[in-house]
Symmetry: C2
Amino acid sequence: MTEKNAFLEAFKRTKYQLVGHGPRNFQVLKEALSSYDEDYESDVYGNGKVIEDFQEKMATYLGKDAAVFFPSGTMAQQIALRIWCDRNGIHKVAYHPLSHLEIHEEDGLKELHRIEPILLADKNRLIELEDVLSLEEDISCLLIELPQREIGGQLPDFEVLESISTYCREKGIKLQLDGARLFEILPYYQKTAAEVCQLFDSVYVSFYKGIGGLAGAILAGDQDFIEESKIWKRRHGGDLISLYPYIITADYYFDKRIHKMATYYENAIELARLFNECKATSTLPSIPVSNMFHVHFEAPIENVKSILIDVYEETNIGITGNLRPIDENSCYCEISLGDQFSKVPKETISNVFQILNDKLSGIVK
Amino acid sequence: MTEKNAFLEAFKRTKYQLVGHGPRNFQVLKEALSSYDEDYESDVYGNGKVIEDFQEKMATYLGKDAAVFFPSGTMAQQIALRIWCDRNGIHKVAYHPLSHLEIHEEDGLKELHRIEPILLADKNRLIELEDVLSLEEDISCLLIELPQREIGGQLPDFEVLESISTYCREKGIKLQLDGARLFEILPYYQKTAAEVCQLFDSVYVSFYKGIGGLAGAILAGDQDFIEESKIWKRRHGGDLISLYPYIITADYYFDKRIHKMATYYENAIELARLFNECKATSTLPSIPVSNMFHVHFEAPIENVKSILIDVYEETNIGITGNLRPIDENSCYCEISLGDQFSKVPKETISNVFQILNDKLSGIVK
């Protein structure tokens, strides 16, 4: 049963929101679907124009031989790691301690694939070349997430990525890109997707973060790798007779938003600056490198929730619907910029932050 | 790349079809989606009104404590078997040699779950109580598919099911229902879904066969079994942020078609009779027990294809788009009755079968 969440409800009631693309409602699908004729044919178990066209489009965009559409990134990435491990004969991989695979997938990689992950780097920082160099065990694959979401969406310098890629190729370690937010980092790197992806052997991208689709993922790589991934897709129960609701929304919103990533990134920088001017408030990273960042409040979560609800009601502008505790005296939220920010009347935004700052100043020394 | 299939294309070009609910095109989704307001909220990772309401509706319909929506039956059933095996500590199950798990899932059960299946009964007949009694190895779960699709959709007597259920309960063997076509057999058994399901510990049903939805499945059982299945759903990569396109179509077409199953069944009996009157043609079963049956032609597949294409072009009525070889001199197709049959002008159907019979008589002694 869904519990009533007063904080989330207060956020949803606001007229404008600083974050996201808007509510996850049926209009998201209706809009994309209305651009197709009613007699357009469904994909059928991975075949058909609607899925093949999109896979080809994404393979080209990512600069890879081939691509396959998956219902989820969880499925796509476990499968990528399994293929590399099976080929190499070593069922060990390495990734960041806060990787999605480690903290959000109920240990699927271990329970389903018997793959042992080695956690690289401290959880509060990025993986560096030195972490890879100092690996004491043989691994088949290194997974790198760009940006590293759970630490606010941080990015290594591109040169670090290049050096890790060069080293892994020398050592025969496959490199998998967790590109859940790949589109969102291209303006910072000033690279094309293909330029980033050529450092990696296989790549996963998602369509319901910055793109704002319904769900779904693309896995891209060499032709034989992709063909093998389709067998595993069937094993996982992901080879659905129809995946088109996800494909058409991915395609539609990709076309609609891929050129807006620089705007989202610039808006994130502006918004982070406003947060950092508030009492007891800081962002991670301090200057965002994508459309996302985390906001840390040095105050108990219940106090911050109460303040934010007041701000929402006074201004009719929502900041976040999801605040999480760090410890008894601090909490944080994740901010992702999308289409909504540009719709907020400019003059009201500084007012929001003035009220927020005043209220925080009232409870923090 | 999708290969052109001349036979399938000829079938699709016909104005009327004896089988199915109609083309798998975007209208299927558009029709269901149009019954919802644009601001209806998406499910979010298994929570929200749209998914919870449907799960509750199906749990009630199936007479079980709880139910969970899965993107596919492949995922749902592997997970059901895994839970029963883990609980019992024996990673062996039994099912029919032509079970979906054995022939259509690329060995997912073995590759992902390390569960060993024991194949019960000869592949050309149903599982009987004697097969279960004569099991020499301990198993955690017996899976029974109703109807047994790959042998034309045959059904055991209900009393046989009851005796198998009683025996399994005595022996502590869990019973899983592969009810991919459960709705379709209720008119033959003259039972409610709940009356059939109470013989089983866990039940899977599908929404894109007789119901005619997009994709998706329900797994139903005890509350704790269902809660555990949700963890595995996440591990498999099936806990999508949005599953509603499948849920709303499942729900919409369930309401639209659940009361038509008796009609589909009666039409199947009528259609099977017409096939059985044709030269070199027989159906399996000879009298259907659901909306489905197989048609066997005692002639080489290329000859039958050629004849059927002629029939389609002469009558503008399609019979099947998928003919499969048995051996050099015979082939078969699967027939599933749906909404289409009632739309075909009655007087033209006997004409179709007269032409078919004439043409088959021309090539078979």
